[in-house]
């Protein structure tokens, strides 16, 4: 299967060339195949969140290149990256990053506002996802009033609504008990069966050991130290 993501010798330094320089990624090279489920493993601060951010076009690497579907996005101007994010990636953040004063439905619809679908079509699509994730009775509830698990599901729904090719999840089970974590992995597993590519950053062995995972990449101190098939 073709590589959907290729990362070539990327490094990411914060406060580069300053006394308080932090080297979050050092010379990282990896590739992700279409339809693959890949886990980035490592202790806190090893660079897995940073790597996901660079891959998902949330931030830029200091050096190196990132190819998404064969296109080099690492030096693309910011004004074009929105298009890449919208068409390719669905990001599930560790802290959810939902707009807390807005309802569940509005949060989920957010990625579709700049697109060409009518409001009716947007709501129809949201309705299907809400039913799938068992959120249909929370449609008008403000996110601030939801439990951690419910917010997680809203974050997933928002990541899926624009039908991205790649799902990126950063520590998706961090705020979930084992039952909810299991449900989440079932959802991601279903998405993988639909042909989506899944990238997960976690230090939870329950996730890295799940049957849907194809490969586990271990990181330490900003470098890849091991890559093994699951």
């Amino acid at each position: 299967m073709a590589d959907i993501i290729q990362v070539k010798r990327i490094s990411k330094y914060y406060n580069w060339k300053k006394p308080d320089e932090v080297r979050a990624l050092i010379d990282v090279t990896m590739s992700v195949k279409k339809g693959e489920a890949l886990v980035l493993c490592g202790a806190s601060g090893c660079g897995k969140t940073t790597l996901l951010g660079v891959v998902g076009c949330m931030s830029r690497s200091t050096s190196g290149s990132v190819l998404v579907a064969g296109r080099d996005v690492s030096r693309l101007p910011e004004r074009f990256l929105g298009d890449v994010r919208r068409k390719t990636f669905g990001f599930i953040f560790q802290q959810f990053n939902l707009i807390r004063t807005v309802s569940v439905l509005e949060n989920i619809l957010l990625p579709l506002y700049p697109g060409d679908l009518s409001m009716g079509q947007m709501k129809e699509r949201a309705g299907r996802i809400l039913a799938r994730l068992d959120l249909h009775d929370k449609v008008r509830t403000k996110v601030a009033r939801l439990s951690g698990g419910e917010q997680q599901r809203v974050a997933i729904a928002r990541a899926l609504i624009h039908q991205p090719q790649v799902i990126i999840a950063d520590e998706p089970t961090a705020h979930l008990d084992s039952t909810l974590a299991s449900e989440l992995l079932d959802i991601l597993s279903g998405l993988k069966r639909e042909g989506k590519t899944v990238l997960i950053a976690t230090h939870d062995s329950f996730v890295s050991g799940h049957p849907m995972i194809n490969r586990v990449i271990h990181m330490r101190d900003g470098r890849i130290i091991d890559s093994s098939d699951s």
Binding site: G53, M58, G82, P114
Partner: protein, 386 residues
């Protein structure tokens, strides 16, 4: 188009989340614009009204100056002026000011020939004797007098002078006649103690409007101690006297603009951490920089356009339907005798457009520009509030 409408919907939703703050901004903003627009509407209306009426003012008014001070003019000057080609009727005017120490008001006393036909804007009769007068509404109010009663004044010799009020100017002429007391020329000359052969000034009719300046120059040459004031100069006074760029209107206008600038500056200097985070989230889930800026632009447009339209509506109602109760005291100041009048609703579209330009655009800029930096930042940094 659908995309823009959807972003507009989200902008409205975004503003509705901070309902009280945004409603307060709209209220203050509308009020500021209403004040500014009221000043513009009031001054423009007064100017247009004055100009529309004063086209029938005398073509030339000839004053006499002695030692730089305004002095009475010999009536014999009229005969010299009459001989100038192009000059029509030359009429010496007797008029002056009178201070009523009892009511602490100034009146303007004006003399006319007895036996003229009735004035349409007078309720009552015209003057037929030296013991009659016609008064303005302001005089009537100050003296608690009306047609048929007697008006008592003190003449230049300190002697009481009584005249019967034969008529009162109607209220719709207040702007011109509020403080007037019209007497016969003979009565007024006696009242002021004016020597025979002298008048306050001389009005000159000129047949051809284009020759007014030329005739004025000739008068000045023939009578060097005079100061001819042409109709153009009278009208010029009124094109600039209610100019919003002058005097206290400028102060009111400037104060409002400064208040508004503070409002816009407060917005421009601070995009909150919460707003930065929101922009970061929108970028992260696929909004372009352009989409984010469109959102912010719409937020600015919604507030500024709504406030502008509300402010203009309020200003019109305030000035032309309610007779500017908030501005009139400013205009009146310490005037004891200030006319009550209805303003004719003249609107200068150019001024309104300039006002819109000066208020809508800066507010939109103050909404978009602070978001610009965050909108072009990487989503990761934006979400962290960097």
């Amino acid at each position: 188009m659908i995309r823009l409408l959807k972003i507009l919907e989200f902008a409205l939703s975004s503003l509705a989340r901070r309902k009280f703050k945004n409603l307060s901004i709209i209220v203050v903003y509308s009020f500021t614009i209403a004040v500014l627009a009221s000043v513009l509407l009031l001054t423009h209306s007064l100017k247009k009204t004055a100009l529309a009426v004063l086209v029938d003012a005398p073509a030339i008014v000839v004053q006499r100056l002695v030692g730089g001070r305004h002095e009475l003019v010999p009536i014999s000057y009229s005969r010299i002026i009459e001989k100038i080609p192009g000059v029509g009727r030359v009429h010496p005017r007797v008029w002056g000011y009178y201070y009523d120490s009892l009511y602490h008001v100034n009146y303007t006393l004006l003399g006319i020939n007895k036996g003229q036909r009735r004035f349409a804007m007078v309720s009552g009769k015209t003057l037929t004797t030296d013991e009659q007068c016609i008064i303005g509404q302001g005089v009537a109010g100050a003296q608690h007098a009306e047609t048929g009663m007697d008006l008592l004044l003190i003449d230049s010799k300190g002697v009481g002078y009584s005249c019967e009020i034969s008529g009162t100017f109607k209220a719709n002429s207040n702007l011109w006649t509020n403080d007037l007391i019209v007497l016969s020329n003979e009565a007024l000359q006696g009242f002021f103690g004016m020597p025979d052969g002298l008048a306050t000034d001389i009005t000159v009719e000129v047949f051809n409007g284009r020759e007014v300046a030329l005739v004025a120059q000739k008068i000045k040459r023939l009578l060097p101690d005079t100061r001819p004031i042409t109709i153009d100069e009278i009208l010029h006074t009124y094109t600039s006297i209610f100019n919003w760029r002058s005097g206290m209107m400028l102060t009111v206008f400037t104060s409002s603009l400064i208040a508004f600038s503070i409002l816009a500056w407060d917005k421009a200097t601070g995009i909150s951490g919460e707003e930065k985070r929101e922009i970061g989230i929108l970028k992260a889930i696929g909004w372009d920089t352009g989409d984010v800026l469109t959102l912010k632009l719409f937020e600015g447009i919604i507030i500024s356009v709504t406030s502008f339209l509300a402010g203009i509506s309020l200003a019109y109602v305030h000035v032309f339907l309610l007779d500017a109760p908030l501005l009139m005291p400013v205009l009146k100041g310490w005037s004891v005798l200030f006319p009550r009048f209805h303003l004719v609703p003249y609107i200068d579209g150019y001024q309104i457009i300039v006002l819109g330009f000066l208020t809508i655009l800066p507010y939109m800029a103050s909404t978009v520009l602070p978001s610009w930096k965050t909108a072009i930042t990487d989503p990761e940094n934006a979400m962290r509030g960097v």
